[in-house]
Symmetry: C2
Subunit: 338 residues, 2 copies
DNA sequence: AGGCATGATTTGATCGTTCAAGTTAAGGAA
DNA sequence: TTCCTTAACTTGAACGATCAAATCATGCCT
């Protein structure tokens, strides 16, 4: 409380110089073991802790990792980022770093935020999420040789310069989902996703297509694209199902879409005249709390591990080692819906 | 990028001293308007940004606000904290602060984290969540006269020393929920909550009791307490409903419990012999994404506003003004379930 | 014995900012 | 004219750590 213990205090009481205390803590190998021992005892006794602001002035290292957090808590899918964030906070702490949050409306504002942060708090690294085609943020950071990792692949056709990234293999997820449906007897399996152009969305569609192709089935006419909202998912699912009476299962690019699809799948459709209730299997993506709550089968992303891997790559990047990339396999959580 | 612009650079180019630049930025009133103008132009031109580490060394202020984030993404109810966090990040940014995350297993570890942080990053203030009876964290911070706000009331009987807090009036929420049910014709309305002892839980039960009392109804035997999980909610709801055939509605202390209750409410109970499907109205608490997704009527907490109010009180606390307290009213979001 | 490499520790300078005290010039009162 | 006050700005020191260079032993080789 009242006591601000500095390195000079420790030095005086241990009977050594400031630098020796610094060395005992940061470069133990250059200090004689018994001296080091004595210093550490005094450090313990006085409760000394390095003042990061002072260290930062000399070394330029702040011990901070910056990550963007979006202003609006965005319903169902926001939880993916949040779970990742929780994991990252812990992994970062283990590596001796702390997370600094910032907000930014779009890519340009985020780059402005980079400049702000670098001038002010000077984070040692950045973690970027939701990467996309031609992401200006990664090139900006690469140009300045700033350490960063993305959670999400660089979705550009030709990755000019490589950078470290961690991602979950979305296509493997939808492929597993589709194979599960095939194994349980479904033959006409549709896909409900987003308009092509988004790396994540296209990737997830590809996994479904691959599984169908592997079973010798034709995907033509079995795919719909819409924006990521429950109501849109419901409409698209209704369209798909009423247009093709043989469809018995739906693989969706998100739990939001799947939730919309479930509205259709779980209730009889009055348009089908005399036709009785037709049960449609539905699989979602992300394994959000909503999926768990309502028994929706969904593709689970190992977010805690992804966060740990991000920190791992970041540690390497901070030592200026060439970038690594990690693609994690998701897992299918089977519940009542499929 | 390569350029580290310091206050000395600005001073040299503007033809003034370092201190005058500092004053132009921090204490404009002591500088002649035209000088100030010139300095600001150079600042703009060079893209000067104050180095917070250096400032912190002199002033002791870091521009950081620390807040704990729990390691595990905890399903449904975690989203309440996450939404609050998103809002707080934005409010903090508007006030010129940034959020620093840390983790801690329990109260004692959190206090250890306080010590770590204060020695290292030196946050200017703390935001505490999930306050409870005899919370050791608040007394620790009060003892050291450190600025902080809690999101959650001090739940102790006698608040020895006051501290700033923001909270949402839970009892008003359950009261509104119960009144809504009364208004729609329900007479026998049960409450599904947590074991007494938790401030939040007791408060929410109290609102329900108050509404019943207001309508001249007896709450005896209409309340159950259990832990906060879907399965527990289902079991307790089944117990309540099968034990009292007149119950037509359930007010729950959380969306998790409500979700469990819905499993019972929405399906016919085989135990009721010939009795037909009995529809039970259910109201949840927190208005989580799950509630929105499945049409659960729920009590909504104004989390973005709560976050903004926290920052407001924090700003005051940082100026050492006497603590303020703010109790926000929640709102009932009526959906299909009630 | 002298020279030299090596290990262990100390000393002085520095990072970029703000505080506290000092300087300068201009204006007003006696 | 002289002295004092005030406004506007400048100067030196300090925050607490680390870097780079200097010092001081110690042991080994010739």
């Amino acid at each position: 409380m009242a006591d601000k213990v500095t390195i000079a205090d420790v030095a005086r009481i241990a009977g050594v110089s400031r630098q020796t205390v610094s060395n005992a803590l940061n470069s133990p190998e250059v200090v004689r073991p018994e001296t080091r021992q004595r210093v550490l005892e005094v450090v313990e006794e006085l409760g000394y802790r390095v003042n990061l602001a002072a260290r930062q002035m000399r070394t330029g290292r702040s011990g901070l990792i910056a990550i963007r957090i979006d202003p609006a808590g965005d319903g169902i899918n926001g939880s993916v980022f949040d779970r990742f964030l929780h994991g990252l906070t812990e992994s970062a702490a283990e590596a001796g770093y702390r997370l600094l949050l910032y907000t930014a409306g779009d890519d340009d504002k985020e780059i402005a935020a980079f400049e702000d942060l670098l001038g002010a708090h000077e984070p040692d690294a950045f973690v970027l999420t939701s990467t996309h085609h031609k992401d200006p943020r990664t090139s900006w950071l690469l140009d300045r040789k700033l350490p960063f990792v993305t959670f999400g692949r660089p979705w550009s056709e030709l990755p000019e310069v490589p950078h470290p990234w961690v991602d979950v293999d979305g296509s493997a997820g939808t492929e597993a989902a589709t194979e599960h449906l095939l194994a349980t007897g479904h033959r006409r399996i549709a896909f409900l996703g987003w308009p092509s152009g988004s790396g994540v969305g296209d990737d997830r569609r590809e996994g479904w297509r691959r599984a169908l192709a592997g079973a010798g089935l034709d995907p033509t006419g079995l795919s719909r694209a819409t924006s990521d909202a429950i109501a849109d998912g419901e409409a698209a699912a209704r369209d798909l199902i009423s247009g093709d009476p043989d469809i018995t299962a739906l693989v969706c690019a998100s739990d939001s879409l799947a939730l919309g699809a479930l509205q259709v799948a779980r209730s009889p459709n009055p348009a089908w005249h005399a036709e009785a209730y037709r049960r449609i299997a539905v699989v979602g993506f992300d394994d959000t709390p909503v999926a768990k709550a309502i028994g929706l089968t969904s593709v689970h992303q190992p977010l805690t591990e992804a966060a740990a891997r991000c920190m791992q790559l970041l540690s390497r990047a901070l030592e200026r080692t060439p970038p690594g990339t990690i693609l994690l396999p998701p897992s299918l959580v089977v519940r009542q819906s499929a």
